[in-house]
């Protein structure tokens, strides 16, 4: 009797371990397909209800956390305000100059206007991944709202990520802090281009790689999506979406490229409302 029980126990354990390896092999690097679609469809209404019901509790915990951080944040914001005032004056001049140049060259679509081909659909985050190894959220915008795989997702402050999989009433979004994420970007105003990658475990820091070391990058400069297009191929993100602000630039000795660190504009740790840019031409 005892030996039979031990054998049964070993068999169940072996089956579970083998199933895990099999699932990992089949689904790594891609969506889990039918199973995920089915489960998400069934559970997304429950997740929406749980999200709304638990919002006051989340806000309470958030309030405690923010109170700890508020002191340091205040000093930093004062410094940033002064810096932004200076930049705003420079920005006004640049806008005037830009308008004049546009008339001269006859451009009808600037980088920001290109984004208007997209139709933003606003949604709410209803779930989030528990580990730092996968930065993903579930939102209550789905196929029925026009969302498609690879659609860019933004928050009020800047780029958040892209849609990884879509169900009828919900979607999973891979954030720009996920280790599999890579976004082609450029630094303003120099126009130096590179690829924004995350640093796993630190959602406050992104790394802009492959910037030529000859290009001078300054702290506080803005990084936006590059939005390239070459024949039939095009970037998944439209040009000009703000990603973050340069916090550090370091040139590695004897290397042709430099690493630029930036802080994302979007508060990726506390995402609530996001917009999916649907209907883009890809």
């Amino acid at each position: 009797m005892y030996r039979k029980q031990v054998r049964r126990r070993r068999a169940v354990l072996t089956l579970l371990v083998l199933s895990s390896f099999l699932l990992l092999t089949i689904t790594y690097g891609q969506s889990s397909g039918g199973l995920q679609d089915g489960l998400s469809t069934v559970f997304s209404p429950l997740q929406t209800v749980a999200d709304r019901a638990l919002k006051p509790a989340r806000d309470l915990v958030g309030w405690f956390d923010q109170t700890f951080e508020a002191r340091g944040e205040n000093d930093r914001l004062r410094d940033e305000l002064e810096e932004t005032r200076t930049q705003a004056v420079a920005g006004q001049e640049a806008l005037q100059e830009n308008a004049q140049l546009r008339k001269l060259v006859g451009l009808d679509r600037g980088p920001v206007l290109a984004a208007s081909a997209y139709e933003p659909v606003t949604g709410r985050v209803i779930a989030r991944s528990p580990t730092v190894w996968h930065s993903a959220v579930t939102i209550d915008v789905g196929r029925g709202d026009g969302a498609r795989v690879d659609d860019p997702v933004i928050a009020g402050e800047g780029l958040v990520g892209q849609v990884a999989s879509v169900q009828p009433s919900s979607s999973q979004v891979t954030l720009i802090t996920d280790h599999a994420s890579a976004v082609s970007a450029k630094v303003l105003p120099s126009g130096a281009q590179g690829v924004v990658r995350p640093e796993v475990g630190n959602p406050e820091d992104l790394v802009l790689d492959f910037i030529a070391s000859a290009r001078k990058i300054g702290v506080g400069q803005t990084v936006v999506t590059a939005g390239w297009r070459a024949r039939d191929l095009a970037s998944l993100f439209p040009a000009g979406l703000p990603i973050g602000e340069v916090t550090r630039a370091s040139i590695v000795e004897q290397e042709a490229s430099q690493q630029v660190h930036l802080r994302p504009y979007a508060d990726l740790a506390n995402l609530d409302l996001v917009q999916v840019l649907t209907g883009g031409s890809r």
């Binding site: 638990l54 985050v125 779930a127 891979t174 599999a180 796993v200 475990g201």
Partner: protein, 182 residues
Amino acid sequence: MIVTPRIFARLAAIVLVGVLLQLSFFSRVALFDTSPDLLPALVVSLGLLGGAMTGAVAGFSTGLLAAALLAGPLGGASLVLLAVGYLAGLFRERFEIHSELLPPLLCLALTVVAELGFGAVELTLGVDAPISALVVRDVLLKGIYAFFLGWPLYLLLRRLLRPALVEEPRVARRRQPTVMGV
């Protein structure tokens, strides 16, 4: 643990509520920039109450459900939580739980093991992005949060699963003295 259909339903409901709570609440609050991870503590508690098989099956299901709801690769979280649940159950089968501090301490230790396991699985499969030293802080803080979450969680689950627990000591009722002739 004696798993009747009713207890099975309770276990399934516990796993479901736990996963929903994690994805909709715990993953979305951050204390000191780290979100608590309830799932390893949940699996450890179930393993401690139900034994190695209950822990392993609960760990597998919890990992599978959480990954399926978030477009993550299936199997990785299942494998890690299966191991954690099995270890917790094995502990219960080999040793007596005398101290009330033991379940939360095991939640702390096995949550750290689980978080390192998640990282190990990802690193084995390949991570191209640089890894921040803050990952270590995240793992340790998650362990500490699991200690404080594990304490009430274990007591709650013990209450919910009491009918199925074999060695649960019954509360002795004091017998009223019988007065002869009344």
